[in-house]
């Protein structure tokens, strides 16, 4: 009887939160053109591994209001660019016992074009690393500097700058070979229900995208826009921070930013958006 009560409560909450109005094709005519020049596709053919669970894959940009979408169409209006600009200074800043800057080894930051599109990626030791891991490895091993926190300001600045170099390039994470076992674990996590509300990523972003969850238009949960400038935080939000927020909202105990679980989930979620161009730095609500 107790179990039934709990079940009913969960059903009632979900029923109240998810309205039945579906907008299967959000903003069908919206086109993401930045500065009137750079066309960025916001829809693509779904990757084969999805087995047809999504008819087409959509950038989260398509689910936002006119005002929010417009902020991303102009690099001045996009407040995330402040972070990338600070990142340019950090790129040149010599630090650590080696007194080296990013630029000393990597030259112009344009050499990072394509990096964001393939993250996360298995490193030479067979570990799955996110961009933050690669950056911190440079800092501690090559520069002799302190590692940056996952959500720290300097990490946001530099990941924003590096991501921007791949803007418009399709997400191209590797999911076979050494990456396959991590991808499988990430996939399992995507379909695992978490928290008191017993919600998986798929419950919202696969089964109910396009519907309203209270006043929010549920997207397909694509990660190609990250790092994103979130109006709510008035700051750059890294993907793992968003994962943590989602799991917390299921009233569950979340994993930490940078954890093995979140890196695997990052790989799987990225692979659902294979073919969608990197938007980083996007603007979301």
């Amino acid at each position: 009887m107790k179990t039934m009560t709990k079940l009913w409560a969960t059903v009632a909450i979900c029923g109240a939160m998810l309205s039945s109005t579906a907008f299967a094709d959000p903003h069908p005519d919206a086109e993401l053109i930045i500065e009137g020049e750079l066309h960025i596709a916001t829809r693509a053919e779904p990757p084969e591994h999805l087995g047809g669970v999504l008819p087409e894959i959509y950038s989260g940009w398509l689910f936002r209001t006119d005002e929010t979408r417009e902020l991303q169409m102009d690099d001045f209006d996009n407040p995330g660019m402040l972070f990338a600009e600070r990142g340019e200074d950090r790129w040149e800043l010599a630090e650590g016992t080696a007194n080296q800057s990013c630029a000393d080894c990597h030259g112009d930051v344009e050499s990072m074009a394509g990096v964001r599109a393939v993250m996360p990626k298995v490193n030479e030791n067979g570990e799955l690393w996110s961009m933050q891991n690669y950056i911190n490895n440079c800092r501690t091993e090559r520069m002799g500097a302190d590692a940056w926190g996952w959500n720290s300001e300097p990490m946001k600045d530099v990941t924003s700058l590096i991501s921007l170099q791949s803007r418009g390039m399709p997400v191209a994470v590797k999911i076979d070979g050494e990456a396959a076992e991590f991808w499988e674990k990430g996939r399992e996590m995507y379909y695992t229900r978490f928290g008191q509300l017993e919600l998986s990523c798929a419950n919202c972003h696969e089964d109910n995208w396009g519907r309203m969850i209270r006043a929010d238009h549920l997207s397909q949960g694509m990660s190609n826009g990250f790092p994103t400038y979130r109006l709510k935080n008035a700051s750059i939000v890294p993907l793992h921070q968003r994962f943590r927020g989602c799991i917390r909202d299921t009233r569950g105990e979340s994993f930490a930013e940078g954890s093995q679980e979140f890196r695997e989930l990052e790989l799987y979620v990225s692979s659902r958006g294979l073919g969608l161009p990197v938007e980083g730095i996007s603007v979301r609500q």
């Binding site: 409560a9 009632a12 909450i13 006119d66 209270r214 929010d216 927020g245 909202d249």
Partner: protein, 138 residues
């Protein structure tokens, strides 16, 4: 069929989303207006406020005010803990009496603009902005 505990939890969720505590009293809005006008009468119209009808997030709401002929515009958010938002002074070098910015709104409320015209008269405009609460508060 919500249990009491679930109802409470949902309520807490809503409270956690609210950005700032409290709401300005009507007198705080009136006080701010009289401080600006010196008690002079204010006529409706002549001030345009452009804002989204529904803001996706109250933390960053794009807003523009325009009052041709104004030397100053006072912008107030009637439902915030304190109503003051900004006071725009247009100098000799300004081509228009228009300015746009981004503001914080603690919830659905009226945004009010009072313009001081070059002849010393005052005009008022107001617009309601609905502020939505996100999916799960996340």
């Amino acid at each position: 069929m919500l249990t009491r505990r679930d109802t409470m939890a949902l309520g807490l969720g809503v409270a956690a989303v609210a950005m700032v505590p409290g709401v300005a009293s009507a007198s705080a809005v009136d006080d701010a207006i009289s401080a600006f006008t010196g008690g002079a009468s204010v006529t409706d119209g002549g001030v345009t406020i452009s804002a989204p009808e529904i803001a996706e997030n109250g933390n960053t709401v794009p807003i523009a005010v325009d009052a041709p002929g104004a030397t100053e515009i006072l912008l107030l958010a009637a439902g915030n803990p304190t109503p003051g938002v900004a006071k725009f002074g247009f100098g000799e070098g300004a081509a228009t009496s228009r300015a746009a910015t981004r503001i914080r709104l603690g919830g659905t409320q009226d945004v009010v603009a009072i313009a001081k015209m070059s002849d010393g008269s005052f005009a008022r405009g107001a617009v309601e902005v609905k502020v939505t609460i996100g999916g799960c508060g996340g």
